[in-house]
């Protein structure tokens, strides 16, 4: 009897885990980044050059200077 209960609980736990995992991944895949929306393309857009001294805004897709930060784009406006 105990084995049956433990077995049922195990199956329920696995199902719950699978459900949660599926939910999480679907919400993450729904997230859309730069390619999907740019609020204002008038600033220096994000592009990578040997200068790379800025960071790309997740929302605007524009590059802004970021001294000492994790740089991934060139903020020197108009060089690319």
């Amino acid at each position: 009897m105990k084995k049956k209960i433990y077995g049922a609980l195990g199956v329920a736990a696995l199902a719950l885990a699978a459900f949660l995992t599926t939910n999480t991944s679907s919400s993450a895949s729904d997230t859309t980044l730069f390619s999907l929306f740019k609020i204002n393309a008038a600033n220096a857009e994000c592009c990578s050059t040997p200068i790379n001294n800025g960071r790309c805004s997740s929302l605007t897709g524009n590059c802004y200077p970021d001294p000492g930060g994790a740089n991934n784009c060139d903020s020197t406006k108009g060089n690319c």
Binding site: A42, N43, L59
Partner: protein
């Protein structure tokens, strides 16, 4: 001994459970609470009152980078629009709308992002490439250039900790105050605590001497202490001037409050200016990206989508009220997290910032509240029909204040 072992095991187990509970609840994020959430009573609402359409040329598109509503010496009202691709400022008569009545070529300015027309012989254009304000005459010739970073070397990025940067929006008009242009900027990323109490984000540009002075600081309780707001959307500054033309009203995206800052002294005060429906706003949580040097873009985007974020603030001189935009949070689960699916609401306050009500206009697919202004007809908010592929018009939907 045999009795003590189970006791010790129990104690260890309890300790582990308590630690787990504490670590689960102890987020590193900072929470900005909305103290009046659900307790405010509405007496006014906004109702749609028609559209105003201005024709666009083939090189111009809706959601232009900058607009300005201004009056000439005879009192005629004009809407000016920056067309980034054709490098022109188009001028429309607001009342008759339709085709532009004039255009100002600004090809001499490398990266124009904002402008202020004093008159047709005195046009200030902000050049983002050189971080300068350029003065043009009526032949679009450059009369003078005013550096907004004190002519510092742009390649040495240390200037970014001393001077604001600019992310202009049409709802943030450049203001004239006693011979000065008031041009607020912002700190772009998380404000380091070492400079949070001295960094000033508003430039005051003296029209006669071309000297630039900097005033007004971020509210330290929210943006200080190294709280992570690592995205220009969170550190943005929206503003208008009070009707007596002496104080600035600042609307920060992550604050339910407004900061009223005197233009001529250091005085400032904070007033409540929030939405009845906005929830707490939390900063980025460093625990969510411990192993990385910066917040992942996907996490920042999700945070912006699922947070209530305030926007522009406008004083309506015809009705003596303030309008404050809110980009409402999307639920964390059950909907697609796209920025443009966020609903746009407008909170209305009286001249003393007492709550009068709020109205949801639509979503960011169709409304662009960063291009908004007030006329005698009502609150004008840029409207882009979701199925508009021809892009022939710049359209403003007008909303009028009504009693409930």
């Amino acid at each position: 001994m045999s009795l003590r072992m189970p006791l010790m095991l129990h104690s260890i187990a309890y300790a582990i459970i308590i630690c787990c509970l504490i670590s689960c609840n102890n987020s590193a994020a900072f929470e900005v609470k909305n103290d009046k959430h659900g307790s405010l009573k509405a007496a006014k609402k906004l109702e749609q009152n028609g559209d105003k359409k201005f024709s666009l040329d083939s090189l111009s598109a809706p959601r232009p980078p900058y607009i300005q509503l201004y009056n000439d010496a005879s009192g005629n009202e004009y809407l000016a629009m920056l067309s980034g691709y054709s490098r022109n400022i188009f001028i429309y008569n607001y009342d008759s709308a339709n085709n532009p009545v004039n255009q100002i070529p600004i090809s001499t300015v490398q990266m124009p992002l904002a402008f202020h027309i004093r008159n047709m012989d005195s046009i200030y254009v902000y050049n983002d490439k050189m971080m300068e304000m350029v003065l043009l005459n009526n032949r679009s010739e450059i009369v003078s250039k005013i550096s907004l970073i004190n002519n510092e070397n742009m390649k040495d990025l240390s200037w970014t900790t001393r001077y604001p940067q600019y992310v202009p929006h049409g709802v943030n008009a450049i203001i004239e105050h006693e011979g000065k242009l008031v041009f607020p900027g912002q700190f772009i990323w998380t404000l380091p605590d070492t400079i949070a109490q001295r960094f000033k984000f508003t430039s005051l540009i003296d029209i006669n001497s071309n000297k630039v002075n900097y005033v007004h600081k971020y509210p330290y309780g929210i943006y200080g202490h190294g709280h992570l707001w690592d995205e220009p959307m969170f550190t943005g500054v929206y503003y208008d001037i009070t009707p007596d033309h002496r104080k600035m009203v600042y609307s920060f995206p992550v604050s339910h409050d407004l900061v009223i800052s005197d233009l001529d002294t250091d005085k400032e005060k904070t007033v409540y200016g929030g939405s009845n429906e906005a929830a707490s706003i939390t900063s980025l949580d460093v625990d969510k990206f411990k192993k990385k040097s910066a917040a992942p873009n996907e996490y920042i985007y999700q945070k912006a989508c699922t947070s209530d974020l305030y926007g522009g603030i406008l004083y309506d001189k015809y009705r003596d009220v303030y309008y404050r935009f809110l980009r409402k949070a999307l639920p964390e689960k059950g909907v697609r997290l796209r920025w443009e699916n966020k609903k746009v609401a407008v909170v209305v306050m009286d001249k003393d910032f007492n709550y009068l009500g709020e109205t949801e206009l639509g979503d960011l697919n169709e409304f662009y509240p960063d291009n908004s202004f007030v006329t005698k007809e009502g609150l004008n908010v840029e409207y882009v029909a979701p199925n508009d592929v021809e892009e022939k018009f710049l359209t403003f939907r007008i909303f009028k204040l009504k009693d409930i």
